[in-house]
C-alpha cells in the first residue's frame, strides 16, 4: 500500500479542489487542464520512462476523439460503448505506428519526426474524408443525460476526469514497480546494453506505446465527449502533441506526479499570461515554449524535482 499512499493523498487533494470549484470558469479550466494531464500521462510512459520522444501524440488523441464522435453521431452507438471503442482505436493506432517505426529501428530525432508525420497525415485525411465530416468536423448531438454520458454543468466531468487521472497515476506507479517498467527504463538508458542482457527491446517499446496511446486516447475521447465537437485541427493539430509532452516535462519527466503537476502549472501560467497580456492569441503557447526551454535548461527533473529539492534543503537546514 505504501507506494500508493502519496497517490491517495494527491487524489484526495484534487477531490477537495474539485469540490471547491463552484464557478463554471474554474471548473472548465480544471477539466481541460486535467484532460491534458491525462494525455500527458500517456506521453510520460513512452517518453519519460521509455525515452522515446513522440512529437505526434495527437495521432492517438485525435483517433480516439474522432471514433468517439463519429460512432455516436453517424452510427448511433451508445456513448459509453463509443468511449471504450475510441480508447481501443487509439491503442490500435499505437500498435501500428509503434510496430512500423520501432521495427524499422527509428529512435531519437527519427522517431520524433515520424510520429509528427503520422499525426499530420491523419490531420490531412480527417480534413478531407467524408466519414469525419471533412473540414466542418463532427458534432455529437446534445442530449444531457447520464445515459448519454452527458451532464448538465461541468462538475460531473471534473469528477470523471479526476477518477481517470487517479487511475493513470496508479497505472504509472504500477508500471514503475513492475519488471516491465524496469525493462523500459533499461531501454531508455542504454538500448544495446538492455538487449545484451536479454531484454526484448522491440516488445517492451511496443507495450509501452500501446499503453501510452490508450491513455492519451482516453483524454481524446473525453475531450470529444466534453466539448461535443471534433474537427481535424482540434483532434490532430500540433497543439495537443505539444501539450501532451510539455506537461510531463515541465512537471517532471518520468515521475508519477509530473504530468499532473505540469498540466496544472502550465494552465496556471497560461491564465496568468492572459491576465497580464490580455487574450492575445499566441502568448500562452509562447510561454509554454519558453518554460519548456527553461525547464530543460535548469531543472531537468521538472517542477516536482525542484519542490523535492527545495524541501530537502529546508529540512537539511533545520536539522
Amino acid at each position: 500500500m505504501r507506494p500508493y499512499l502519496s497517490i491517495v493523498i494527491v487524489a484526495l487533494a484534487l477531490a477537495a479542489l474539485a469540490s471547491l470549484a463552484h464557478s463554471n470558469t474554474l471548473a472548465n479550466s480544471l477539466v481541460t487542464a486535467t484532460i491534458i494531464a491525462l494525455a500527458g500521462y500517456g506521453w510520460n510512459l513512452l517518453g519519460g520512462y521509455g525515452g522515446q520522444y513522440s512529437f505526434g501524440h495527437a495521432a492517438f488523441f485525435g483517433a480516439a476523439a474522432y471514433v468517439d464522435a463519429v460512432a455516436q453521431a453517424r452510427y448511433g452507438v451508445n456513448a459509453y460503448a463509443a468511449f471504450v471503442l475510441a480508447t481501443a482505436a487509439a491503442a490500435l493506432v499505437g500498435v501500428v505506428i509503434g510496430y512500423l517505426s520501432f521495427r524499422a529501428g527509428l529512435r531519437g530525432s527519427y522517431f520524433a519526426l515520424i510520429t509528427l508525420a503520422f499525426a499530420e497525415v491523419m490531420r490531412v485525411l480527417a480534413n478531407a474524408a467524408g466519414i469525419t465530416g471533412g473540414a466542418a468536423g463532427t458534432l455529437i448531438r446534445l442530449a444531457p443525460s447520464p445515459s448519454h454520458f452527458q451532464f448538465v454543468g461541468r462538475q460531473p466531468y471534473l469528477w470523471i476526469v479526476l477518477v481517470l487521472v487517479t487511475l493513470a497515476m496508479i497505472a504509472t506507479r504500477a508500471v514503475e514497480r513492475s519488471r516491465f517498467g524496469a525493462y523500459l527504463v533499461a531501454v531508455r538508458e542504454n538500448e544495446a546494453a538492455a538487449r545484451a542482457l536479454g531484454v526484448d527491446a522491440l516488445r517492451v517499446k511496443l507495450q509501452a506505446i500501446v499503453i501510452s496511446a490508450a491513455l492519451t486516447g482516453l483524454a481524446g475521447a473525453l475531450y470529444a465527449q466534453y466539448f461535443l465537437f471534433v474537427d481535424a485541427s482540434i483532434a490532430f493539430g500540433p497543439w495537443i502533441s505539444i501539450e501532451a509532452l510539455a506537461a510531463p516535462i515541465v512537471g517532471g519527466l518520468g515521475t508519477v506526479f509530473g504530468p499532473l503537476v505540469g498540466a496544472l502549472a502550465l494552465d496556471g501560467f497560461g491564465e496568468a499570461a492572459h491576465a497580464v497580456a490580455g487574450r492575445t492569441p499566441g502568448i500562452e503557447l509562447a510561454l509554454y515554449g519558453a518554460l519548456l526551454v527553461l525547464v530543460v535548461a535548469v531543472a531537468r527533473d521538472g517542477l516536482q524535482g525542484l519542490a523535492v529539492r527545495f524541501f530537502a534543503a529546508r529540512r537539511a537546514g533545520a536539522a
Partner: protein
C-alpha cells in the same frame, strides 16, 4: 488535357519551387550533419525571416536588396541562438536539443502570432508576375531568380565546406568531435557557426520566397515538413543529397498537384517521407548514418 507542354511546364515549375525547398533543406541537413540533431525551430526561423523581409519591403527595401543584409543578421541570430540558448540549455544531450529547439520554435511562432496576428500577408512588386520565355515555356521571373540564387548558395556552401578553414573545421567536428577538439578546434564555436549558416540560408530563402508566396506566423510549418522529407530523402547530413532531393520533391509535388489536386498532393509528400524513413532511413544518396 495533359499535353507535353503542360507536363513540361509543371516540371519546370516544380524545379524552380524545388530549388527553394532545397535551399531550406540545406540548412537543416548541415545542422544535422554536424550536431546529429534535427533542428525543430527551422520552420519558425524561416517564418521570422519572411516577416523581416516583409517589413523591410514595407520600408521600401526590395527583398532582393534585403537579401544580403538579412543573411548577415540571421547568421548572427543563429550563431547567438546556438551559443547562448540551445547549447547551454541542452547540456550536451541529444534528447534535450530536440526539446529545446521544439520549445524555441513554439516561442518564435507564437510571438510572431501575438505581434502580427494570423493574417496572411504578401507584397506587391512590379516584377511579381513578370515571366521570361524559355523555348515554348514561360517561367515566372521571381521563381527563376529563386532557382538561380538557390543554386548559387548551394555551390557557395559546398565550396565553403571544402576549401575554407572553417569549412574544414565543420567537417572535422561532424566526423569526430573529440578528435577535432584535440587539434585545437573549438566545437561550441563550430556548432554556432553551423547554426548561423543554416539561419543565413533561411534568410536568403525567405527573400526569394516573399515575392511569390505569402507570409503568416505558421508559414514555416508548411515548408519544414517538406524540408524534413528532403533531408531524409537525400540522406541526413548530405548537402548534395539535399539539393537533389529538393529538386525531386519540387517536381513530385508539382506533378501530383497537377494529377491529384492540391490538398492530396501534399499528402504525397508525407507518404514519401514516412516510406523513406521506414524503408531506407539512410536516404537515397545514402551517406552512412
Amino acid at each position: 488535357m495533359l499535353t507535353p507542354d503542360i507536363l513540361a511546364a509543371a516540371v519546370v515549375n516544380g524545379l524552380t519551387t524545388g530549388a527553394v525547398y532545397a535551399l531550406i533543406a540545406v540548412g537543416l541537413t548541415l545542422v544535422y550533419g554536424v550536431l546529429h540533431i534535427v533542428n525543430f525551430a527551422h520552420g519558425a526561423i524561416l517564418a521570422a525571416a519572411m516577416f523581416a523581409a516583409y517589413f523591410a519591403f514595407q520600408y521600401g527595401v526590395d527583398p532582393y536588396v534585403a537579401l544580403a543584409p538579412l543573411a548577415v543578421v540571421f547568421f548572427g541570430l543563429g550563431y547567438a541562438a546556438q551559443r547562448l540558448v540551445i547549447g547551454p540549455a541542452s547540456h550536451g544531450e541529444d534528447r534535450n536539443v530536440l526539446l529545446v529547439t521544439l520549445g524555441l520554435s513554439i516561442v518564435i511562432e507564437n510571438l510572431l502570432l501575438a505581434a502580427f496576428s494570423s493574417d496572411t500577408r504578401s507584397i506587391n512588386t512590379t516584377y511579381g508576375f513578370a515571366t521570361i520565355r524559355l523555348g515554348p515555356l514561360f517561367v515566372s521571373l521571381p521563381k527563376a531568380i529563386g532557382f538561380g540564387v538557390s543554386c548559387a548558395v548551394g555551390m557557395t556552401l559546398w565550396a565553403l565546406l571544402n576549401y575554407t578553414d572553417i569549412g574544414k573545421a565543420i567537417r572535422a567536428v561532424a566526423k569526430e568531435r573529440m578528435g577535432a577538439r584535440l587539434v585545437g578546434i573549438d566545437p561550441p564555436h563550430v556548432f554556432a557557426v553551423t547554426f548561423g549558416l543554416s539561419a543565413a540560408c533561411l534568410a536568403i530563402a525567405a527573400c526569394v520566397l516573399l515575392p511569390v508566396y505569402y507570409v503568416d506566423p505558421r508559414v514555416g510549418e508548411a515548408y519544414v515538413l517538406i524540408a524534413f522529407t528532403i533531408v531524409v530523402l537525400g540522406g541526413m547530413g548530405s548537402i548534395a543529397g539535399a539539393m537533389v532531393g529538393g529538386l525531386l520533391i519540387g517536381v513530385v509535388e508539382s506533378l501530383s498537384g497537377l494529377l491529384l489536386g492540391d490538398s492530396l498532393g501534399q499528402l504525397g509528400i508525407y507518404l514519401i517521407f514516412i516510406l523513406v524513413l521506414l524503408l531506407r532511413p539512410r536516404g537515397l544518396f545514402g551517406a552512412t548514418a
